[in-house]
Amino acid sequence: MLGAFVRAFRTPDLRNKLLFTLFILTIYRLGSVIPAPGVDSVAIKQCLQNVQSGDAAGVYSLINLFSGGALLQLAIFGLGIMPYITASIILNLLTVVIPRLETLKKEGQAGQTKITQYTRYLTLALAVLQSTSIIAMARTGQLFQGACPPSSYLPDDGIVTLVTMVFVMTAGTCVIMWFGELITERGVGNGMSLLIFTTIISAFPSGMMRIWTEQSQWVFAIICVAALFLIAGVVFIEQAQRRIPVQYAKRMVGRRMYGGSSTYIPLKVNQAGVIPVIFASSLLYLPTLVVGLMGPESTSPVVTFLNTYFDPMGTHPVYMTTFFALIVGFAFFYVAITFNPTEVADNMKKYGGFIPSIRPGRPTAEYLDFVLTRLTTPGALYLGLIALLPMVALGSSGASANFPFGGVSILIMVGVGLDTVKQIESHLQQRNYEGFLR
């Protein structure tokens, strides 16, 4: 294992890629602690601590998860990559609805590039929207729900300063987008997911410290062991796949022989990855937003309803059931849009491939569909359970918001980690045969 690390750093081009990735991630973290101009960084940290120890902590756990605490400090990279994720989700859903996007998607590489370009424009628009609303909330003091007077952390609330802050945060989001693309292009792994990974990891030490100081050492040890088992379980299921054998017929093209090989189609148990969880969390964030806009003290029936059933502390059964149902639904939906059995079957038929004992064409598509549905059922249930686990286990004690091993974060961590290690390994295998994983 250690030998593999040494070898990874001995390989010149891989070393450059790794160092480049680390360099970009360092700059990203630096940018998330530099406050936007006009913000008193000392005062706002004080406010943050007041709020986090208060009872409204749950509202901030999800926002903080995706921004690494940078948003509430009004840092220049405060919005993080949340706008980009939201934009990708929106465009992904729109491809099903709008025919033009669907044709673009089917065009392959060129169409995909165009869709990416649309995603980037949409990201910019969302960034402007979100930074404006965040700055507006900060000015009225709603950002900390009135726990902190805005004049303390915004010493100068002239219009010029506020507009400058909006500009800076928007530009920051664009820079983050560029960082992600740079890592994808010249570094190791997928840039966007590595950036999310970093923000989640960065919340880890402080979360662990809080458990260490607030709870007894036994609790700390038990939590660590439980987390290890949870991570092992998640890795196990993420790696699980069903291999459907495919036999290719031999054929002659000119004087050369093609095919005649037997391979397999790998169908993962959790084909959708963590995307359903992210979809569901961002949808369930909406009620909180509505309550925030109407003011938590408002007596309108909508707010009362949302406050009782969709309290973001997430301990109410209705909230948990909705979360679970959304995740399961999205898991099936996402698998359906990413893996098209008819297309796979057609492609196999075109190149003379078939699944043993099943006719090519429609029966193959039906078989693939059947297997996929049967596989996705436990996969979707597993996703929902993992995401709910911390809420159920710790919800009653109210510790879920401060808990660093939330279901969403573990899923993202393991998913991204595995992916990156696999990519490093494929680089390693070009030089020598042994990698990290056996």
């Binding site: 530099i34 994720i85 992904n92 664009c174 693309e181 994808t184 292009e185």
Partner: protein, 77 residues
């Protein structure tokens, strides 16, 4: 002083946004985001991309310097 620097900062921000958007979007799509398999980028970057990179880095540095300077100015004043 503060007003002037604010205006400069806004202009630089706009420039930075423009430059980033001019880059060719690489590795897009949500399917790539989490466990979408290994995508290899074929072919090096073109001359245009390289110059764009250089410009972006320069304006990014100017941007950071402006942000920090303006932040310090407002806090002191």
């Amino acid at each position: 002083m503060i007003l002037g620097l604010s205006i400069v900062l806004m202009l630089v921000s706009l420039l930075l946004i423009m430059l980033v958007l001019l880059h060719k979007g690489k590795g897009g799509g949500l399917s790539d985001l989490f466990g979408g398999g290994v995508t290899s980028s074929l072919g090096g970057s073109s001359v245009v991309e390289r110059n764009l990179d250089r410009l972006t880095i320069v304006s990014g540095s100017v941007w950071i310097v402006c942000v920090v300077a303006l932040g310090l100015l407002i806090q002191r004043g």
